[in-house]
């Protein structure tokens, strides 16, 4: 086990970095799209309901099936993996963002509205700061799920830790299976902790 690590540490490191790359690119794109969809949803209850239902339907498609569906359109590889991951994230992010924003004390919203804040001013000056922990919670869930589903994406040649995991499965190479699993779990935990840390820091800065 340790021998595999010492001999192939560069291979493991490359796979981890590749995995991290997929996760980070996915996160950036997901957040940008989710932010736009959240703003659009804040203008209309109907739109928000339609979007949530649509993404929850897509979210219920198993990941291998979604990847398979995308291959004819976007081919094999990283790009397709990232597209699938971004689509999955929209459900997690949008649902949590909207729940967080709606959870803000209605009397604060009413006072803000009565003072003549526009919808955007309300969103960015009042709702977002007050819903910050819910927003970060949504990001944490999305990130952890991205790390997990990204391992499956290696089935379509996206690379990352899933590649090592699946290689191990194919050849019944136990060290590969174990290291693939451990590293992807560690990655998920570390990223999650990092966000908790960021959240705590920003809370302290508020006080």
């Amino acid at each position: 086990m340790i021998e595999y690590l010492t001999r192939y540490y560069d291979k493991l490191l490359t796979a981890t970095l590749e995995h991290l790359e997929i996760v980070m690119i996915t996160l950036m794109i997901s957040l940008a799209i989710a932010a736009v969809l959240t703003i659009v949803s804040s203008y209309s209850k109907v739109v928000s309901r339609v979007l949530l239902n649509l993404f929850s339907m897509i979210y219920s498609i198993p990941s291998l099936a979604l990847l398979a569906l995308l291959i004819p359109v976007t081919g094999l590889g990283k790009k397709t993996a990232i597209i699938a991951l971004v689509i999955y994230n929209q459900y997690l992010l949008l649902r949590n963002f909207l729940a967080g924003l709606e959870g803000v004390d209605p009397s604060i919203i009413e006072a803000a509205k009565g003072m003549g804040l526009t919808r955007m001013q309300m969103l960015f000056r009042v709702q977002v700061p007050l819903a910050k922990s819910a927003l970060i919670a949504g990001m944490r869930i999305a990130l952890v799920s991205t790390v997990g589903i990204a391992t499956i994406a290696s089935a379509i040649n996206a690379g990352g830790l899933g590649g090592i995991l699946f290689d191990g499965l194919r050849t019944m190479n136990i060290p590969k299976i174990v290291w693939g699993s451990i590293l992807s779990a560690l990655l998920a935990i570390l990223i999650d902790r990092l966000l908790v840390f960021v959240e705590k820091r920003s809370e302290k800065a508020d006080k």
């Binding site: 004390d105 009397s107 604060i108 919203i109 009413e110 006072a111 803000a112 509205k113 009565g114 003072m115 003549g116 804040l117 526009t118 001013q121 000056r125 009042v126 700061p129 007050l130 508020d206």
Partner: protein, 255 residues
């Protein structure tokens, strides 16, 4: 004296309700008047108030402020011209007292010195020492102090009209009496038009130059407290006055 607020045959029915929250109401309020709106819960008094800053839109009829039909004015502009105070106060918990008061001045891009001076002026006006209070957070204030900040925030850009929806409803009776007296003083010195919703008849009669009495979406009587007590226009108004007198008799028994 000029007319500040005019309702022309205004009706508002909420979706799924059997009767109108506000039912063909017409009224005029002069500039500088202190009007209280009295009625039990569900009578439409809050709906009436919220149609003035367009938190609700009437189904029919029009609301006119200083000669201008507000449905033709940008809704944000209408609201920034009107001070709005609610029972739950709704201070922003992530802002300090001075940031809360400065919300609208900041949106209007006043310069910093002017904002700071205005915040201190308003804090003094509502009876709080600026040095002590300006950097506190709402959670570090009592209910009465919070509502003073709510009032200061609503007064920030010197609106001509102030709407207050049971602002003292959740405040203990000793503090409430004090706040009522101070509000009367403020009104006397500022010449603004005040609209104050309450379900407390003593409060309504103590504060109002004229009192609107509402029930089931209709205005039963709109007159000075004196005229209402002397000549209740309606059995419902009569019963309100009687209930206040009964309370009075209760206390007199112990004197």
């Amino acid at each position: 004296m000029s007319t500040a607020i005019e309702f022309r045959n205004v009706t508002k029915t909420f979706h799924g309700a059997n009767y109108s929250a506000v039912d063909h109401v017409s009224l005029t309020i002069d500039e500088g008047e202190f009007i209280t709106i009295l009625g039990s819960s569900g009578c439409g008094k809050t709906t009436l108030l919220k149609m003035i800053n367009r938190l609700y839109e009437p189904d029919s009829g029009s609301v006119i402020l200083f000669g201008e039909d507000i449905s033709t004015v940008d809704v944000v502009k209408v609201r920034r011209r009107i001070g709005y105070v609610i029972q739950q106060i709704g201070l922003f918990p992530h802002y300090t007292v001075s940031e809360n008061i400065a919300t609208v001045p900041k949106l209007l891009k006043w310069d910093k010195a002017k904002i700071a001076a205005r915040v201190d002026e308003l804090l003094t006006l509502v009876g709080l020492d600026p040095k002590e209070f300006r950097n506190r957070y709402p959670s570090q204030l009592s209910g009465g102090q919070q509502q003073r900040i709510g009032l200061a925030r609503a007064l920030a850009v010197d609106p001509k009209i102030m709407l207050m929806d049971e602002p003292f409803g959740a405040i203990d009776s000793i503090t409430r009496e004090k706040l009522q007296d101070e509000l009367l003083n403020l009104h006397r010195n500022m010449g603004k038009t005040f609209l104050f919703v309450t379900h407390d008849i003593e409060e309504a009669f103590k504060l109002g130059d004229r009192v609107i009495i509402m029930n089931e979406g209709k205005i039963l009587q709109f007159d000075t407290p004196e005229a209402i007590i002397r000549e209740p226009a309606d059995p419902f108004v009569q019963s309100l006055v009687d209930s206040a007198k009964a309370k009075e008799a209760f206390w007199r028994a112990y004197l």
